[in-house]
Structures are given as C-alpha cells and as structure tokens.
Symmetry: C2
Subunit: 629 residues, 2 copies
C-alpha cells in the first residue's frame, strides 16, 4: 500500500460507514437479517478488504488470491457490501438480499464466486480456513487466509479442533479475527467482553493472540501486520467490538440479534446517524482501485493415469485395504490429491498414502470435524481431499458434511469398518446409519465397493467426480470377484448372477454381496436361481437396471444391507423402483447390535445367506417374510 496512514485511516473509516449503511439498507429492504452483527465487524472487514488482502474483485478464484472466510455467516450483508465496494458487482444488487432471484442469500454460499464454502453453521469457517491454509502450502503459494469468527461461535468444539491443528501444523499463513461483540443470539455470550478469557484459550492452544479494540482502525491494521510478521504459528486477533456499533439506540443492546431495522422511521433514524459518520477524506484516494492483485499464475495440474488394480481373482483383500492402495496410487498420479486422517490411518489404510506423499497427508489427530472442515477448504481451492476414518465417526462431522453438500465441494470421504461385520468391538464402532446420513444429501455420491477391484476403481472415479463423494469400506477381507479391467461408473451396478428363470433379485452391496452369492449357491442346489446385483453405487442409482431386474424376476426384489433399515439400501432401491410399481423386501439390521463374531452377527441380525434364502422362499411362495416389517 502506497497510501500513508493519515490518508488511509479516514478513507477506511468511510468504507466502514458505507459497509454499515449498505448492510442496513439491504436487511431493511429484505425485512430480515442481522445488521447489528454486521456493524460490529465493519472496521475489521474494511481493513481486511481495503488495506490488507491481495485479491482481484473480478477474479476471486485466482489461486494466489488471499482468502476471506466469514465464519460468522449471519453477517453476510457486510461481506456482500465489501465485495460490492471492491467492485465485484453493482452496489444496487445488495438490495436484492435474501430474495429468491438473487445469489445474495441469507447466509453465504458458493453460488457467489467469492465464497469458498457455505457458512452459517457456526464454528465451521475456521476449519475450512485450515484447509485453505494447507492448500497454500500444497501449491507453494504465499496467499494468506483470513477467517472472521463470532465470539459466540467460539463455544463450538470444532473451533478448538481447528486451533489444535492450526498450531500443530504451524500455519502462520492463517489469521483468525474474532469479533467479540459480547452478545449472542438469545443472551450475552459466555465470556462477554472479558478479552482475557479468549486470549488465554488461544495462547494455551499455541496461537499468537492479539487483543485489540475492533473499532480502532490503527489497532486493526497493526494487528494484521503483526500477524503477517508472525512465523511458525497462526494468529488470532481478538477484537473487542460493540454489537450494533454506529447506531446509538441499538449499540450493545440485547434483543437486537437477527433483527432488521423497520422501514420508515426506525431505519431512517439509524441511517441518519450513520450518514453523519462520514469524515473528510483526502482527495484521490480510491481504496477499491488500489487493492493489490495476485499475479495471473495458472497452475496446470497434469494428472498422470492411475495405476490399475492388480489383484488375482479370488485374492482375499479388505476393501479398506484396497482403499489405501488406491489413494496411494492416486497420490502418485495427481498432485491435487490429499489425504486427511483422524489417528486411524493404520485401520483405514490411509497410511499407505502417507508413505507415498507425506507432504499431502494431513493428520488431524482424533478430531473429525476439522478433518472434514479442512477438506472443504482444500477442495474449494482446487485440491482433491480424501478424509477418512471409521465410518461411524463421520457422524461426528455430519453438520460439516451437510454444509459440504450445500457448498457442493468435492470432498471424497471414506468410512471404514461399516456395519456389524466389524464384529467384537461392538455397536459404538459400527456404522449402521452412514449410508442414510450421506444419501440424505441429494448431491453426495454414495459408493460401496465389495472387493479390491471395485474399491480401487471407485476411489479413482471419486477423484474425478466433480462433487462430494462418500465411499464405504468394510473391515473383513473379501474375495476379489472382478477382473482388473472391469469399470465401475458412478451411478452403475453389476449383475453378478442372471438366468432366464430367476425367481427373485437379490440386491446387496459391500459385505452382503457375498451373503447374496452364498444364498445363490444354496438356492441353486435346490433348483432355483436368483439374480444377484452388486449395488456399488447407491446414489446416483441405476434405476433402469433395477427395474429391469425386478420385472425379469416376478417383481421380487430383496435388498440386504449391513445397515439399519432407515435410509439405507432398501429405501434407496424402493425409491428407485417406486414409479415402476414395484415393492422391495428389505433385510437390514433392525435393532441395536452387540459384540460378537462377524458371522454370528450377520446371522443374528438377519442379513446372512440363510436369511436371504428364507426371504427368497417366502416372497416366491407368497408367505410373509418374517424378518421384514
């Protein structure tokens, strides 16, 4: 910045005033929103956008542009106002805030080109910031990542997961700013304006913490410079602010969270106060025009072909192990691919990735929320992150997965140890709702390989799929049933057994494919054949093939899944064939399971080969199927 502070400060002050005015106008026009949460952050945002960050308002995706994440997403209007002020779009657009025709939504989403990840679920932006900062390291860029948090959201555990990881990874290219306005939604925050409560926490977690007056632009600029100069650790700027700052009758007042000023007298009075706050500024200073722009540095990632699977038919390999092999191959083929772990790399086999590409392997320790949040930030910046843990523990990050779906970022989650087939560890370690969890999000591809070949192929397919993906892997070893050159397009399925007189179609996936094949053998010995389908892609789902199989087998479709019935394979297949007028008989785990041997559990909970045989007999003879409700 070539501007001296004496000129800069009044110009920034006027920007802050305009941000307040724009936030007020937009929310008043919308009739809802959070103007007072914008007011407390106005100086911080003004300083960041117009005296600190390097970016091009017309090219927000530039790989070397500094990142700004509004973790306190409810202050969206001040974010939009800042981008308008910077020249990204016409200021008049701001008045379309929250209307159905505008991308200026109530909380930011990546429908806007300058938003990396959707925010509005608190405590997530700082996790995504970790990912953005790691990405800078990955692409060897000196861009910096700034995250604006609310004080209230500092109660979210995910913030402290990010604090640990940020310090452990020495992310000095990451700078958080907490807008400590002291007021939450429904009451004063836990620590209100006791700044020491914040400072001692961040320092204890290994961050450089700076306490300032968040309305003092000199202090904000100094703190940002201090952060930039700090090496080896991330910085958290703790800014004491006043909620509603600038409008006397709401300043520091409880009961004004999430309330727009009413059109007419109330809004006019507030606007009148704000308009008086413009100060004389030196002529010729146009901060928007002086934003430093990143170089236009295209980074062409040229992925090499991924090495194909190399199994022998009948080899015994767990899909979780094949997953590890596959991501290690991807690591060698594509520099965009990363892997993230939560201290289970030796169980998920992601340690194979670490051996090949340790610099793109990010350890989060036992902290699944930041693992997924960081993946969101990485994916938003062009990486292809594979976060993995036990499938059940992905539920720890469901709110992040939900926001990843809203963001439509290409995170490739893998969950191992699915279902009762893990055996003795018991229900706390068994994922029995993970398919439901991921399938509920309409844009997450849900994949479930049954053998080594399909696992490797689906991992590669996930990497080149544009959106979020979930891959479910299993603990036990299973035989390889596909040849190495078999392909597995997302949205497909495999018909493994098929004959003209098939009496029913069994749809399995993962471990239950082998129960279905065993049932096939037993039924065949009795003179009956069934169709057997490996539904390796649960979402999108190959409806036409399912309908065709159902029609060819007397309308008898039986699903079998190592999962609870709600929202899993049975529901997915039933939804797919519903319009064809077919119903589905579902074998699934219908109660909370317990510890035991895998085979015992598959049988006890009604999803073993013998239960499939029984179900086939029942549906083909018209008798009610006992295990099905």
């Amino acid at each position: 910045m070539a501007i001296d502070r004496a000129s800069l400060i009044p110009a920034l002050k006027n920007v802050a005033t305009r941000l307040r005015i724009d936030s007020l106008r937009a929310t008043t026009e919308a009739g809802s929103g959070h103007p007072t949460s914008c007011f407390s952050a106005a100086e911080i945002v003004a300083a960041l956008f117009f005296a600190e960050m390097r970016f091009d308002p017309k090219d927000p995706h530039n790989p070397d542009a500094d990142r700004f994440i509004l973790s306190k997403g409810h202050a969206a209007p001040v974010l939009y106002a800042a981008w308008a002020e910077a020249g990204a779009f016409d200021r008049d657009e701001l008045l379309k805030l929250r209307t159905i025709g505008s991308d200026l939504e109530g909380h930011p989403t990546p429908r806007l080109p300058f938003v990396d990840v959707a925010t509005g679920s608190l405590g997530q932006g700082i996790c995504a910031g970790i990912g953005c900062a790691l990405n800078a390291r990955r692409i060897k860029s000196d861009y910096r990542t700034y995250v604006l948090l609310g004080d209230g959201e500092s109660a979210e555990g995910s913030v402290w997961e990010a604090a640990n990881v940020g310090a452990a990874d020495r992310l000095d290219n990451l700078c958080g700013l907490t807008d400590v306005n002291g007021l939450g939604q429904s009451r004063p925050t836990m620590w209100q304006h006791d700044m020491e409560q914040f400072a001692r926490r961040w320092r204890a977690f290994g961050w450089h913490a700076i306490v300032i007056d968040g309305h003092d632009l000199y202090a904000v600029l100094d703190a940002l410079a201090d952060a930039r100069a700090t090496k080896g650790q991330p910085t958290m700027i703790l800014a004491r602010t006043i909620k509603g700052k600038g409008v006397s009758f709401v300043e520091g007042k409880d009961g004004w969270h999430g309330k727009a000023f009413k059109k007419g007298e109330e809004a006019d009075r507030a606007l009148g106060e704000l308009e008086k706050q413009f100060v004389p500024a030196p002529a010729g200073v146009n901060l928007a025009q002086q934003i430093p722009k990143p170089a236009v540095a295209a980074r062409a990632a040229v992925p090499k072909p991924v090495a194909p699977p190399a199994y022998k038919m009948g080899d015994h390999v767990a899909t979780r192990e094949a997953y590890g092999t596959a991501i290690a191959k991807l690591a060698e083929a594509d520099p965009r691919v990363c892997a993230l772990d939560a201290d289970v790399k030796n169980s998920t086999f992601s340690d194979r990735f670490e051996k090949v590409a340790p610099d793109r392997f990010y350890q989060n320790f036992i902290a699944e929320q930041v693992m997924i949040g960081a993946s969101m930030g990485l994916a938003a910046r062009g990486a292809i992150p594979f976060p993995s843990t036990f499938a059940c523990f992905l539920s720890r990050a469901y709110d992040f997965i939900r926001m990843a779906a809203i963001s439509n970022v290409g995170i490739k989650m893998a969950g191992s140890h699915a279902g009762v087939s893990i055996g003795e560890d018991g229900p706390s370690q068994m994922a029995l709702e993970d398919l439901a969890m991921c399938r509920a999000e309409p844009n997450i591809a849900v994949l479930y390989p049954c053998d080594g070949v399909s696992a490797e192929r689906l991992v590669a397919a996930a990497a080149s799929h544009p959106g979020p993906v979930y891959i479910r892997t299993s603990r036990p070893k299973t035989p390889v049933i596909y040849s190495n050159d078999e392909t597995f397009p997302i949205g497909g399925l495999k018909v493994l057994r098929e004959a003209p007189g098939d009496v029913a179609t069994i749809v399995g996936a993962g471990i239950t494919v082998f129960e279905a094949l065993a049932a096939y053998d037993r039924l065949k010995a009795d003179g009956h054949t069934v169709r057997v389908i490996d539904l390796y892609s649960l979402q999108p789902i190959d409806r036409d093939s399912l309908v065709r199989a159902g029609r060819a087998t007397g309308g008898h479709l039986i699903t079998v899944e190592d999962h609870y019935p709600g929202g899993g394979i049975g529901d997915a297949v039933a939804a797919a064939v519903a319009e064809a007028g077919m119903t589905v008989h579902r074998l699934a785990v219908r109660e909370i399971p317990r510890s035991g041997k895998a085979d015992e559990l598959l049988d006890r909970y009604g999803i073993s080969a013998s239960h499939i045989v029984e179900a086939v007999r029942a549906v083909t003879t018209g008798k009610p199927v006992g295990a099905v409700h």
Copy 2:
C-alpha cells in the same frame, strides 16, 4: 476410609496388578481388545474404585452413588475387571469378554447395570459427565462424577465444549482424569508426554488442573483429595502414564494399540511379569468390602398432570412456540424434566421453560455436542432432558445421538426451523435431513406435529416415552386444527379428510399437512376427493392405517415432505406399506435450496399444494409424475 495409607497403598497396588492381569486374560481369551490402554489406567481405576468412590457394587443405580464414566471406552476390560473386583459379578465372567452371549462388550454399553452411557466414540464421556454432575445438583445429592479420558481423545472438540460448560456451571462435583499415555492408535498423540500442553489448556478453560504421575498411587489419592476439596470449579487430573505399563516388552511402545497378547508364549510371558508385581499387603485389608455405600435414599418423583393445550380452533401458532409452552407446562408438572439450550432459546421458545424453572434450564451456549452429551448423562440418572436447537444444528451432535440410541437413554430432542419453510435465512439454517438422521436409529421415536395442539400433546407423550425421542417443529405459524382434547399416541396418525370415493391418499406432516389440505380443497372444487393423513409419528409408524388408506384409495399414496427425499417421510411410508405390495409417490425437496420467501420455496421445490394437485392428477390418470424420480 479407615485404612491408613501404609496399608492402603500396597493393597491398592495389588488391585492394580489384578486389574492388569484380568484385562490381559480377558483380551487374550477374546483374541482382541486393548490391554495396553487398560494397563496405563490401572492405578487410576484402582484408586477411584477402592479408595475414593462411594457406591454399592450390587446396586449401581443408587441415585446417590458416585458415577464413573469410562470416556476412553476401549479400556473396557479394566472397567469390567474393577466391577468384578468390587464384587458386582463373578470374575470368571471376564473371560466371556466380547462374546455374543456376554454383556461384557468390546466397548461399554448400558446393557451392563453399572454403565450409564455407552462409550467408545471418543470425547463423549466428559459431556455425559456434565449431565451426571448437573443431575446431582437437580436432585440435591452430594454424589460426585468421575470421568476417565484418554489423552488422544482430548483432541475432540466436544471435550472443550464440556470444559467450557463445566467451568461456567462451576461443577465442583465433577472430576476428570486424563490418562496421558502419550500414544494414540496409529502414532504418538499430538502432545505426547508434554503435560504442560494439557495443563495450560484446562486452566485456560477455567478448570483446576493437577499434573501427576499416574502410576504413583500416593499422587493419585492426593489429587483426588485435592479435587474433592476444590470448590467452585471442576478438576482435571492429568496423569502421566505409560501405555502397556507393567509388561516390559510393550511399555511405551507404538504399534500395540488395540492388540491382544497372543495366547501361549506371548501372553504367558506378560502374565509372568505381572504376577511378580504383587507386593506384601497387610492382612485383613479387603478393599472391596470397605467401599463406602450410599444411603438407600429413594427419591419419589411424583409428577402432576400436565396442563392440557388451550387453543381455539383456527388460532395461528407456530409448533416451535407450542413446544415452548408445552415444556414450560411440563416443568411445572414434573421435577425430572429439564431443558437444555445452545443459545437459541428465543427461537426455539425454550426460554419459556427457563422462566418457569431456571434451575433446571441448562445453557450450553453455541455447543450442540455437549448439549446432547449432557442430556445423555442427565437421562441416565433419571432426569427427562429436553435439549433443543435449530433442527439443522442437531446434525452437529449426530455421533452423540447415535451413541444415545446405543445407550437407549431417554433424551427428548427438539429441532425447530425445519425445512425450506424457514424462508430467507437460506440452506445453512434449513434442516432437510434431520428426519433421515433420527429415523436411521431404530429406537428413536420421530415425531412431527403440525399444529399447536399436536405439538403440546406430543411433547407430553415424549416425556413419558421410555427411550430417545426426536420432535421436529416448524418456524411459520400454522392454524390449530385439532381440538384441545385430541390425543396423539406415539405410533399413530390422523386421517383428516376421508370419503368413500377418495382417489388417492396424501400423507403430509408438519407444514405440508396444510399444503395437503389446500390441495384437497382445490381437488374437491374439481369434483375429486382425496384422503389426507397427518403422519405426526414417523417412527414408530402406523402401518396398518397407511395400508388401509392406500387400499381404500386405489393404491395411490403420495407423500409430501419439507425434507430431502432420502430417508424421510416418503421412504418411511414406502417401507411401511412395502409388504402390502404398494408403492409410494414422493414429493420432496430434491436439490440444495436457496433463500427466498417460505411460500415461494415450497412451490419452487415441489412440495406446495399445486404440486400435490398435479401429482394426484398424474397418478390417478396413470401419467408419470414429473416431480418424482
């Protein structure tokens, strides 16, 4: 304790050795488990059970008994060994560890009477401990709550949510102990044996932190006494330990997590080493017999009848508001009922409970995991907790909800602001997967009232239901359609419109009931009638009534839900009627929605009255239904 330390210490040391031996034997017999994680905690557990805690091994549920929660659930064998040592059951049972016929599962579950909540998903036990400690305050008991954490799990954000709440609530009846053995599952932990890293974090969060050598029984006893004497804040004892302590060839070695000693030479060698560690102990000291027992103090909670709803037909009231009214009435009727908030009490209307019973209203600030975790602890101790927040933010606590289901504890969750009908705030604030999330757990009752009367009745029904419950409420005001004396049993439904010639059955719930009623009116104006069902109980579901309605209306069932299609109302109804050979046409939100007015969004995403009318016409004329896949 009447025993002097000179006698106590050698006796405790021998208990610790027996706990190690029992843990080894049990895991070796099982062929799996975590003996080295038990070894590091042996002195801590010995001291707690046999020189600190007040409990009756034969009556673990005594309301005044001290609580012990094994947050590091993988050390289950040492927990089981301690209860066996205390006389709760025969020591021989330990050798049935992890077998299908035994309740001594791989990780603890409340199938065992001495386990309050299932653990094994890390970072949760300390949250449940908050609930147990709050419960002591509720019932005016001086029992204390002890939680044993692992060092690895201290990376979980939920631990720091609990840290904040424990300090804010000044829970000096809560004592955590962290077994800092330095080794995680796949590698050394983030801070290994740097005890200061732990101490400064806990102190920053407002806890009394004590660093000790966790194998020094004197130090453990002193720290426990110190914790007991500490007033106004909870204590965290940070115990430096050695993983595998007691067996030379595994002590402090990486690569031994979750590995049992192999039967034969390996186990024998380890056992031989342990057996040499018995020390001469004074005769006549039997620690198990000297455990101080709580008084048998029955506390009869005599709930009064809950005041019935008091609306006028046609009144406009949001179900979230009726929820607030209902829990406030419950607060007055039943001293077991509590409410928990995450700083949205003015939106969920749980502030009405706070006004009536501030001492049973627990504020967690913006920290949903500890809110649900604390509810688990409260419910396990006889309280009836109603935690509530925006429905979408319950996904933040899904792993806790999953563990609450495994624990089968009676937490009564309420999620407000469901679906696109919240309007302008946008997708981050819209719950569109909450029904799938809760319905996936087979033992969670999923309730969804549409008006004020049903909301109040279902809240009361939830309170008296024995297991976990989820209640979904809506943001917009809806007309009261039920009379105040209408009853709503869990597992039922209401047929709102019914005539002999009905051409189809529309199944709605919550906000879509009114879209269905509007569709009814339009269709009736055209000379057609449809059956309209309010499916207020999604799980359990009234299958018979659905089948009856389907059969009476030409097999045409149409569901309409303010929710994504996967795992929601459509899937639930389809599963219910599957065995009757009926299929279901589903209207649901099929893409990531955006901000807008509620009515605009209901229409844009295909769940408004006009879409229902279209769907009825399509299914009854046999044309494909456009909005249905």
